[in-house]
C-alpha cells in the first residue's frame, strides 16, 4: 500500500475511497495456510508455525503502514505510528505453579472478583501467568500460552492455527502473524461443559511497547463454555501498539458465549485487531465485543457460519471519547445454510471522537435458508463527535432473508427534561439515557460481574464528557 504524505494528491498513489465490504468480499473466509508453497514443511505444529511466520514476515517487510480511506469523512491511518521506535517488551513468567503473580495494575483495576474456570495473563510480549481450575483440567481442558501449544505439537493447534486468518492484507496483520509472542491457547474437549468463564487478559505495560497477541480457541463437539477477553493498557503517555489475531473454532453442536472488554487507556495506543469466530454444524456462538478505548482502534470482527445448522448472535458495543478514533468492520458470514444470524451493535461518541462502524451480511452462493438481520444504533454526545454507520448486504443465494436497520441519534432534550422533572440532575439523566441506550445489548451479556465492568467504564466516559455534554445541551 502506498504511503500517504500531506503533499500527496496523486490519485494513482493514493488508495481510493472504498467500503470495507468491497475489499473483503473476494477474501471472505481466506486462510494464510492456502498461500503456503507446496514445498513448505507443515507436517507438525512447530514447522507449520515456522512456515507461516516466514511467509508473513515477507509480507510485513514489503508493506507500508496501512491507510484506509473510506466514504465520506473517514480516513484510518496508521502512518503516524513510529513503528521503528517500538519494541516487544518481555517479562519474567510466573513460577511453575502460577500462583501469587500480581496482576498488572490495569488488570487489577478492571477484572472483577468472580468464579472463573481459568485465566491467562500476557503483559506486553510475555505470558506472565496461567491458572486453570482443577475441575476443568480434570476434564481435559487445556489452557496455556500459544507458544507452548505449538512447541508441544498440539493436534488442535496443527489443525486450526491460522485456518481462517490471513497474513497479507496489511502490514499490521502480517506483523501479528510473523512476530506474535506469548499468546493464548484454549482447547475444550468434546462434551465438556464449563460454566464459569475463561479469562484471557492482555496488558500493554508502557509506552514504546509493541504487543502482538494471538489467541486460538477450539471448542470440540458439544462442548459448552464462556470466554471473556480483556485487552487493556496501563495509564501512560506516548505511543504503543497492540495487534491481535484471534480465532475460535466451534465444532458440531458446541456452544460458546464470547465477550471482549477492550480499553487501551488514554495513551497514544494503536490497536489493529482481527477476530474470527467459525461456527460449525448446529453450533452456536453469542459474541459481544465491547470496544471502549484506544487512540486509533481498527478491528475486523468476523462471525462465520461454516456448517449447516450453525447459529449466532453477534452483539457489539463501542464508545469513543475525546480524540479517539474507532474503525470497525463486523461481518456476518454465511458460507452454508441453513444458518441463522442476528447482528446488533450500539455505539456512542463524545468529544471530537470518530467512529466508523461498517456491518456486512454476506451470504455465499448455495447458503440457502440463511436468515439474518443487522442493526446498528448510534448516539452522538457532542457536536464534534462523528459516527458513520454503514450497513451492507451481499447475498448470493435466493432462498434467504437478510435485512438491516439502524438509527443515528443525539441526546433527546425532552427525555432529559422528563428525568430532571423527576428529580435527577442533568448528569444523572444523561447517564441513565446513555446506559439505557446500551442496555438492550449490554443486558445480553447475562453475566453480572462483566456487565458491571462495562457499565463502570461507560460511566467513566460519561463523567469525563460531562462538561461538554452540558455545554452541548445549553447551546441547542
Amino acid at each position: 500500500m502506498a504511503p500517504l504524505s500531506s503533499a500527496d494528491t496523486e490519485t494513482a498513489t493514493r488508495p481510493p475511497r472504498h467500503r470495507e465490504a468491497t475489499l473483503y468480499a473476494p477474501l471472505a473466509g481466506a486462510s494464510a495456510r492456502t498461500a503456503l508453497p507446496e514445498s513448505a514443511p507443515v507436517g507438525d505444529a512447530a514447522s507449520l508455525l515456522a512456515a507461516l511466520r516466514e511467509q508473513a514476515l515477507s509480507s510485513y517487510e514489503a508493506a507500508e503502514l496501512p491507510v484506509w480511506r473510506r466514504s465520506g469523512f473517514w480516513t484510518t491511518s496508521f502512518a503516524p505510528l513510529d513503528l521503528a521506535a517500538l519494541e516487544v517488551h518481555h517479562h519474567e513468567p510466573a513460577a511453575a505453579d502460577g500462583a501469587d503473580v500480581p496482576l498488572p495494575q490495569a488488570a487489577a483495576k478492571r477484572l472483577p472478583e468472580r468464579a472463573r474456570a481459568g485465566r491467562i495473563v500476557q503483559l506486553d510480549g510475555s505470558v506472565i501467568s496461567v491458572e486453570l481450575a482443577e475441575s476443568a483440567s480434570a476434564q481435559g481442558v487445556r489452557l496455556c500460552s500459544l507458544e507452548q501449544a505449538a512447541a508441544e505439537g498440539s493436534e488442535a493447534f496443527h489443525r486450526h492455527y491460522s485456518q481462517r486468518l490471513t497474513s497479507d492484507r496489511n502490514k499490521l496483520e502480517a506483523a501479528n502473524a510473523a512476530l506474535w509472542t506469548g499468546g493464548a491457547f484454549l482447547h475444550v474437549p468434546a462434551g465438556v461443559v464449563i460454566e464459569d468463564p475463561f479469562e484471557i487478559v492482555s496488558v500493554l505495560g508502557s509506552a514504546g511497547s509493541a504487543q502482538h497477541a494471538r489467541v486460538l480457541i477450539v471448542g470440540d463437539r458439544a462442548s459448552e463454555f464462556a470466554v471473556h477477553e480483556y485487552t487493556l493498557a496501563e495509564d501512560f503517555e506516548g505511543q504503543a501498539l497492540h495487534t491481535e489475531g484471534f480465532e475460535m473454532y466451534l465444532s458440531d453442536g458446541a456452544r460458546c458465549r464470547l465477550a471482549h472488554f477492550q480499553d487501551l487507556g488514554p495513551g497514544e495506543v494503536y490497536d489493529a485487531t482481527t477476530r474470527v469466530v467459525a461456527v460449525g454444524r448446529d453450533a452456536f456462538c453469542h459474541w459481544l465485543p465491547a470496544l471502549l478505548g484506544g487512540h486509533l482502534v481498527r478491528q475486523h470482527l468476523e462471525l462465520a457460519v461454516t456448517e449447516p445448522g450453525g447459529d449466532m448472535a453477534f452483539r457489539g458495543i463501542f464508545f469513543a471519547e475525546d480524540a479517539e478514533m474507532f474503525d470497525m468492520f463486523a461481518v456476518d458470514l454465511h458460507e452454508v445454510g441453513p444458518s441463522g444470524g442476528d447482528v446488533h451493535w450500539r455505539g456512542a461518541a463524545s468529544g471530537s471522537a470518530r467512529a466508523s462502524m461498517e456491518g456486512l451480511i454476506k451470504i455465499n452462493p448455495g447458503a440457502q435458508q440463511s436468515h439474518t438481520y443487522l442493526q446498528i444504533h448510534t448516539v452522538m454526545l457532542s457536536p464534534k463527535a462523528r459516527i458513520d454507520a454503514i450497513p451492507s448486504v451481499l447475498v448470493s443465494a435466493d432462498d434467504v432473508s437478510a435485512s438491516h436497520g439502524g438509527s443515528v441519534g443525539e441526546l433527546d432534550e425532552d427525555v432529559i427534561f422528563y428525568m430532571q422533572s423527576r428529580g435527577l440532575d442533568r448528569t444523572a439523566a444523561v447517564r441513565v439515557l446513555v446506559e439505557g441506550f446500551f442496555e438492550p445489548v449490554l443486558g445480553e451479556l447475562a453475566d453480572e460481574p462483566l456487565e458491571g465492568v462495562v457499565r463502570a467504564k461507560i460511566a467513566e466516559k460519561l463523567a469525563a464528557a460531562r462538561a461538554e455534554i452540558e455545554a452541548y445541551a445549553a447551546g441547542r
Binding site: E413, Q420, R426, L433
Partner: protein, 251 residues
C-alpha cells in the same frame, strides 16, 4: 402565602410570547382546574413551572414553599416537591419503571431507600393504579399504550409523593375505564397524602371523579375567569366562545 405562587408570569417560547401575565396560587390539599382551548398557554404554564429550558420567563416569578424557584433547575423543583404529569410522556428505553423510580426517590434522599421499603411503596402504588406488578419491570413508556403511559405518570406521582402536582391533560386519550382509574388515583392521593393539584384539561369528564375547589379559565395566555366547580359545567354547556366574547376586551 400559598405553597405555589405564580406572579405576573410572562413566558416566551420559540420567539412567541405565550403567557402574558399569569397569577395563580395553589395550596397543599387544594384541587385546581385549569381549563382553556388549544393554544391558550396551559401546557406552556405546566412546562414553565418545572423549568423546561425551552421556555423563557421574561417577567414575573414562581414562588414554591417560600423559595423563589423562577431560575431553579428542573431537578431542584422536583426535589422541593413539585411534580408534572406529562401530556406526552417520553419513552426511556432500557430503564424499567421500578429502576427509574428507585433513582428518582434516591435523588431526593441522602441515604438510598431500603429494598423492603421501596417494594412496599411500589406495591401500594401498583394497587392504587390497578396495574399488574410486572408493569413496573417494563422499560418506562417504551411501547406503552396511551393509557399505560398515563397510568405510569400517576404511579410515579404516587411514589414520589409531591406537595403540588400539575397534571397536563392527563385525561386526554384515555378510555373511560382508564380515566376512572387515573382520576380516582389522583383523588386518593389528594385524600391520603394531602396532594395539591393543578389539573389541566379541555374536558369536564375527569371532574366526575375528582372535584376541583377552584376553576381557572385561560385564554390567550391569561387567566380570564375564575370560580368554583360550577364553572366546569358552564364551560361544558357554553364552550369557550361565549367566554371569549365576554372577556374579549381583556385579550
Amino acid at each position: 402565602m400559598a405553597e405555589l405562587e405564580i406572579r405576573d408570569l410572562h413566558v416566551r417560547h420559540e420567539d412567541l410570547e405565550i403567557l402574558k401575565g399569569v397569577d395563580l396560587s395553589i395550596d397543599k390539599g387544594e384541587i385546581h382546574a385549569l381549563m382553556g382551548p388549544n393554544g391558550s398557554g396551559k401546557s406552556t404554564l405546566a412546562n414553565t413551572l418545572l423549568g423546561h429550558p425551552g421556555y423563557e420567563i421574561t417577567q414575573g416569578a414562581i414562588i414554591f414553599a417560600g423559595q423563589d424557584i423562577t431560575e431553579a433547575e428542573p431537578h431542584e423543583r422536583a426535589k422541593a416537591g413539585l411534580f408534572l404529569a406529562f401530556q406526552y410522556p417520553v419513552a426511556i428505553p432500557g430503564v424499567s419503571i421500578a429502576n427509574f423510580l428507585r433513582m428518582a426517590i434516591n435523588a431526593k434522599r441522602d441515604e438510598p431507600i431500603g429494598v423492603k421499603e421501596f417494594r412496599g411503596q411500589l406495591e401500594t402504588a401498583v394497587a392504587l393504579l390497578d396495574v399488574d406488578r410486572s408493569f413496573t419491570s417494563r422499560p418506562l413508556n417504551d411501547g406503552f399504550s396511551g393509557g399505560e403511559k398515563k397510568r405510569a405518570e400517576i404511579l410515579q406521582m404516587a411514589m414520589l409523593a409531591p406537595d403540588i402536582a400539575i397534571l397536563d391533560e392527563t385525561d386526554s386519550g384515555l378510555d373511560i375505564d382508564a380515566l376512572r382509574t387515573v382520576a380516582e388515583g389522583v383523588a386518593k392521593l389528594h385524600k391520603s397524602q394531602g396532594l395539591g393539584a393543578l389539573i389541566i384539561t379541555h374536558y369536564q369528564r375527569i371532574f366526575h371523579y375528582v372535584t376541583p375547589q377552584f376553576v381557572h379559565v385561560m385564554l390567550d395566555g391569561r387567566i380570564v375567569l375564575e370560580g368554583g366547580e360550577e364553572l366546569v359545567e358552564r364551560l361544558e354547556r357554553e364552550g369557550y366562545d361565549q367566554i371569549r366574547q365576554e372577556h374579549g376586551a381583556v385579550v
